[in-house]
Symmetry: C2
């Protein structure tokens, strides 16, 4: 079966072999305070940094999930006010996390399938924006995100790139924090989140501490940094996942991140073209600027169940529509683990479907 569900998604080609190697090398039993683990940690950091062109102003930390990162961002970076651009279920969850942590959280909302293009000036210490909404297939223009930073130089700009990395090429000088989890674009089993945060985030967390505020326990930014400088993690981590992530990043570097990004574009183009021409299916996101290359949502209405079964008979698993869209949409991930041939096959099957 080819798994087009947007996460947990299809495994990257090399993940199973790297997991076997991890066992062979004794990674599961390795002390997380040993030089052997430190070498793994360092390798993963270096490979990720190279693959995504992350500058040294930005640190890379490991959490258990992107969901955890929403909580850590608010805990570490906000005294009073945050602002959230909400255009789907995941951007909304970040907003709700801020409310649960008793912050004055501002919600700027558009309806599902829509995006944002006007970088507002906001009264907030942190601005949360979702580069790629996995629930609605909306991708926001990078110019909008950078514009937010220009408009709000003193706010920390935090970008959810859960389902867009490693495809998106960010200018990190315009972003204070970016985060993702490994079961999407990196094609790994779930259980690891990656939190990229710059020196301004560290300084903010330290200023909260200096004010006598609590910023959590083991997953505070200063404690992450203290351990990270030794190539260690605050707690005993998911060491196998850290090892595999480094190896996958290395594999992607070898294949060429440019090649991966070009192929992603090609695959997106052929699927969106197919939907444009199709007599009974269409793209849910109609505005071209907002059409995500990595999570493509098909508006299939009454045909949804039949289409899903039809594809399954062909060996293709589509992701269900999210939330209220379950039953009227199908979601297709376009990650590095999905080959051009698989996308060509998919579009051929869609052509033949009526």
């Amino acid at each position: 079966m080819i798994n087009f569900s947007p996460g947990p998604s299809q495994l990257y080609f090399t993940v199973e072999d790297h997991t076997k190697s991890a066992f062979r090398l004794g990674v599961p039993s390795m002390s997380h305070r040993s030089p052997a683990f430190e070498a793994i940690y360092q390798h993963t950091q270096e490979q990720l940094r190279a693959l995504l062109s992350i500058p040294h102003t930005h640190h890379i930390f490991f959490t258990s999930s992107a969901t955890e990162i929403w909580e850590r961002l608010i805990q570490n970076l906000v005294v009073e006010k945050s602002a959230h651009f909400v255009n789907g279920a995941f951007s909304e969850k970040f907003y709700k996390a801020a409310k649960q942590l008793h912050k004055k959280a501002l919600e700027i909302r558009v309806q599902d399938g829509d995006g944002f293009s006007n970088p507002l000036k906001l009264d907030a210490e942190l601005i949360g924006v979702t580069h790629n909404e996995t629930s609605t297939g909306v991708s926001l223009p990078k110019s909008f995100i950078y514009g937010l930073k220009d408009q709000n130089p003193d706010a920390l700009l935090c970008v959810d790139a859960v389902s867009s990395l490693p495809n998106v090429d960010f200018d990190y000088s315009k972003i204070d924090s970016v985060y993702f989890s490994v079961q999407k674009g990196f094609g790994m089993p779930p259980g690891l989140g990656v939190w990229i945060a710059n020196d301004a985030c560290i300084a903010r967390a330290e200023s909260l501490l200096a004010k006598g505020l609590s910023i959590g326990t083991h997953h505070s930014l200063p404690f992450y940094l203290k351990n990270g400088l030794k190539n260690q993690t605050p707690e005993t981590p998911n060491s196998v996942a850290i090892y595999v992530l480094g190896k996958v990043a290395e594999d992607m570097m070898r294949r060429g991140i440019g090649t991966i990004r070009n192929e992603t574009e090609y695959k997106a183009v052929i699927l969106y073209n197919e939907l444009k021409q199709h007599k009974s299916l269409s793209a849910f996101v109609t505005e071209k600027t907002y059409q995500s290359p990595t999570v493509i949502i098909v508006e299939s209405g009454d045909l949804t169940e039949r289409l899903s079964k039809y594809l399954q008979e062909k060996g293709i698993v589509a992701g269900e529509g999210y939330g209220v869209h379950q039953g009227s949409q199908l979601r297709f991930a376009n990650f590095p683990a999905h080959s051009k041939e698989q996308f060509e096959l998919l579009t051929d099957y869609l052509t033949a479907f009526s």
Copy 2:
């Protein structure tokens, strides 16, 4: 190599095969909202419940580590005051987590290698006690722990069993919360914590919420419970580890938890006997009541480095002494993954060492 380090420790015999099966069954790519994942979640819950005789007054939740559970316990259960029995590095970390979360935390401390036997009456909403201190090899008598509950019926009694489960047989009616991580007694790779919490803990968390206090975001007890009742987790979890844990618990049930516990006792007895008779080595914990069966610490003084190398030449990895004891002690885990034959070999080598 035989790995006697107390964690991450030697893998349980069947872990690698179960990990392979997880990949074969598609667990890494499985949606965590699918019936297939719910079946895995339910299986793991049932096997753990059966293995450890956990009554239905107590719920089982998954975190990323035991370190995370310290934070969650304080967030969910304490308005103002907690009390912590501190006799080593890990019990101290829980106490410090409470302070970092701005609670009035009381520390009741004895020196490393010592334990507690007098169940005090305390002015606290939560009492933290470490059944087995992995850093010092001290195990507290169950009678002391149950006595604490008798003395403090209104406090929530939270027991760190990180390095004692599945060996210890608790009377859960005397304990409100117990927790462990899987890389110790369960012989798995790190990356999963197991948090057992009873209805009183849920009620306390809900009462904090009702008072308008924040109890965190995705890992609050009410949200865990809401998802758990559907056999789901709050976030995309480490699904492979949840699958493997259920299979390992099943394997241990098949072997017989009574057999495992008897063997643990046998292995502990032969090692402590060896240390009693040895001319240059001794047990760090001198009081028999406090001698942990599962983490046995050898006071090796100036001989430490030589002993460590000697064992390594024989194919045996010992755990280093923790913190200030590094260089003068070695730690030996006695987990279900360590066979009687391996312990007999170890004691033979110690006899021959001088």
